[in-house]
């Protein structure tokens, strides 16, 4: 379950590129490892993310994982269905549809050249095979 049209990191995040906006989430492999997701801590709109640094946390019943920024840029949108105060809070989206409705943040790239450093589907597949 590794969509071909996306880019990946070795921290099990995926990136969907739309001009200069990068949509980010965690992979199917990641959600499977974590188990039922109960909470996601995401940065506020306007926050600047720095590639390689933590920008949030994803929490399951038994464990917590840091989220690492795959690219540098400003957060322009945060998935409202992943905000715990919201009535529509649905953390299960990360488990059920990690590449679609389980998206986490949308970031405006400040350095598009960083994209070249991301993994393609084949390279990411290798990582999951080694880890699993």
């Amino acid at each position: 379950m590794i969509p071909q049209d996306l880019k990946y990191t070795d921290e099990h995040e995926w990136i969907r590129l739309n001009a200069e906006i990068a949509e980010v989430g965690i992979t199917h492999f990641a959600q499977e490892q974590l188990g039922d997701i109960v909470y996601v801590e995401l940065p506020a709109v306007g926050t600047t993310l720095t590639r390689g640094q933590t920008f949030g946390v994803v929490e399951s019943v038994k464990t917590v994982s840091d989220l690492y920024a795959p690219v540098t840029g400003e957060v322009v949108e945060v998935n409202p269905e992943l905000l715990s105060e919201a009535d529509e809070f649905k953390p299960e989206l990360v488990n059920d549809d990690p590449f679609g409705q389980g998206w986490m943040v949308r970031v405006r790239l400040s350095d598009p050249s960083e994209v070249a450093g991301l993994l393609d589907a084949a390279a990411y597949k290798k990582i999951t095979e080694e880890a699993g």
Binding site: D36, V38, Y39, E59, V61, F89, P91, E92
Partner: protein, 480 residues
């Protein structure tokens, strides 16, 4: 929803009265007369209204939903679930101990101070330390106390040491305490024998390291035979060696942390020294120190001045970590335990604990994976990975199925370095029959149809609970 026992709030009925306090014979005042309007309670707190029998029946029935040491075998590794002697409870409820105020003049509390002093001395002797503080309320509290001391010690020496080393097999409180005390935590891997990897240790030891936190025996139940060399290495690098005393039950009267080279220790009175777990506390985590570190202990401590006991803060004390003196009534229980056993008794406790653990290890290996072979100390770690591979049964399933057999599960998924870990510590107070029955249960469930284990427990008031829902939509109080 079908329930086992409704809550106090559901049982409440307006106008029901429980136990009333006495009426004062002083002239009655009204709050409105004395308190400013902005601070007056507008609506009384919505506490439940119940009769005495309602309350007694409620809690008695709740208690019957629990396992406990008094009713069940709890082979929980790292917890030392030994018998909690009832005479210690009697001691703790003596009015001369329970009805004294912590701030009354010391001349009116000499018995209490004498007991604390004597316990301080006993624990120092048992651990090979020079001085003890009884302030910390739990093991984790003791850890952070020691780390504050370490931090201040190096500050005074003008040395900038920002790192604490912990083995990857350590209890979670170790790195948590270190981080809270402002240190950077570095994890040291274990070697194939389950001990500290000396090469890795050497590589990390430099002038930025404040201390190495260790427990011995390790959380794998194995004695760290290289401890003298470890102590040497750490001290040569100018660092300190801290002892997590959770596993002291293996060593009383046989080996002392101070003699192994440890500079600071904490003990868990609610583990080694038999004070009851109470469903999650209270415990106590006394800290011991030697050499220069003695001066940094939290104050005040009890000291002896001829025939008189008084309190005094060590001259470079880090200050207080708790209000008043600490968990005094827990100290009373531990003191009673030590006085019951004496030197020989404590040694026999440790010897029996180690014998019992080895007995169980030998009888269970072969049915479960035993990642670290050979003699263990007071506990050992099995792995359910063979069951997982063969039948899709995990440590959690083993734990839940054991409940149906009438045993509390061992510690599961700890230490983190063992896959599907099951850490077993029988303690010295369990009979051969009990241990054999547990072994039989383990052997039986290892052969059972996996679905039986996945569905377990079936005989408890509730089955496996929806922990996901509990975390996604937390309901942490009964709604008004």
């Amino acid at each position: 929803m079908k329930t086992c026992e409704s809550t106090l709030f559901e049982k409440s009925r307006p106008g029901r009265r429980g136990t009333m306090p006495p009426e004062t014979d002083c002239p009655k005042v009204q709050p409105e007369e004395l308190l400013p309007a902005a601070m007056l309670r507008q609506a009384p707190p919505t506490l439940p209204e119940l009769s005495e029998l309602d309350v007694l029946r409620h809690f008695t029935r709740l208690s019957q939903l629990n396992f406990s040491v008094d009713t069940h075998f709890y082979p929980l590794g790292s917890c030392t679930m030994k018998y909690n002697p009832r005479v210690n409870e009697k001691a703790a409820t003596l009015p001369g101990f329970s009805a004294i105020h912590p701030l009354q003049p010391e001349s009116t509390a000499q018995g209490a101070l004498a007991l604390m002093h004597s316990l301080q001395d006993c624990l120092a002797e048992i651990t090979g330390m020079e001085a003890i503080t009884l302030q910390p309320s739990a093991g984790a509290h003791g850890e952070i106390t020691a780390l504050f001391m370490i931090s201040r010690y190096f500050q005074d020496k003008g040395e900038k040491r920002t790192r604490v080393l912990v083995p990857d097999s350590s209890h979670g409180t170790n790195p948590a305490s270190a981080a809270l005390a402002g240190f950077e935590v570095v994890t040291i891997p274990s070697n194939a024998q389950g001990g500290v990897d000396l090469e890795a240790l050497r590589a990390h030891l430099d002038s930025s390291v404040a201390c190495l936190m260790l427990t011995n025996p390790s959380t794998l139940g194995l004695f760290e035979t290289g401890i003298e060399e470890i102590a040497s290495l750490v001290h040569e690098a100018g660092g300190l060696l801290y002892y997590d005393g959770a596993n002291m039950n293996a060593l009383m009267g046989l080996v002392r942390p101070g003699d192994m080279g440890f500079d600071l220790v904490h003990l868990n009175l609610h583990k080694t020294f038999s004070t009851p777990h109470g469903g999650g506390g209270p415990g106590a985590g006394p800290v011991g120190a030697r050499g220069e570190l003695v001066h940094y202990l939290p104050g005040p401590r009890v000291v002896r001045d001829g025939e008189i006991f008084r309190t005094e803060a060590p001259r470079k004390s880090i200050g207080r970590v708790r209000t008043f003196w600490g968990n005094f009534l827990v100290a009373v229980r531990a003191y009673a335990y030590i006085r019951t056993h004496g030197s020989q008794g404590l040694r026999e406790v440790s010897q029996a604990a180690v014998l019992a653990a080895n007995y169980m290890r030998v009888r269970l290996q072969g049915h479960f994976d035993l990642p670290y072979q050979g003699t263990c100390m007071h506990e050992f770690v099995l792995s359910a990975r063979n069951l997982k591979a063969a039948r899709g049964v995990r440590a959690t399933d083993v734990a839940k199925r054991l409940l149906d057999f009438g045993f509390h599960a061992p510690t599961i998924y700890f230490p983190l370095i063992v896959e599907e870990a099951l850490m077993i510590e029988p303690t010295e107070t369990e009979s051969l029959e009990t241990m054999d029955a547990f072994i039989e249960a383990m052997r039986t469930l290892a052969e059972e149809d996996p679905q039986t284990l996945h569905d377990a427990p079936q005989t408890r008031p509730v089955g496996r609970l929806d922990e996901t829902q509990a975390a996604r939509k937390p309901v942490l109080a009964w709604p008004e």
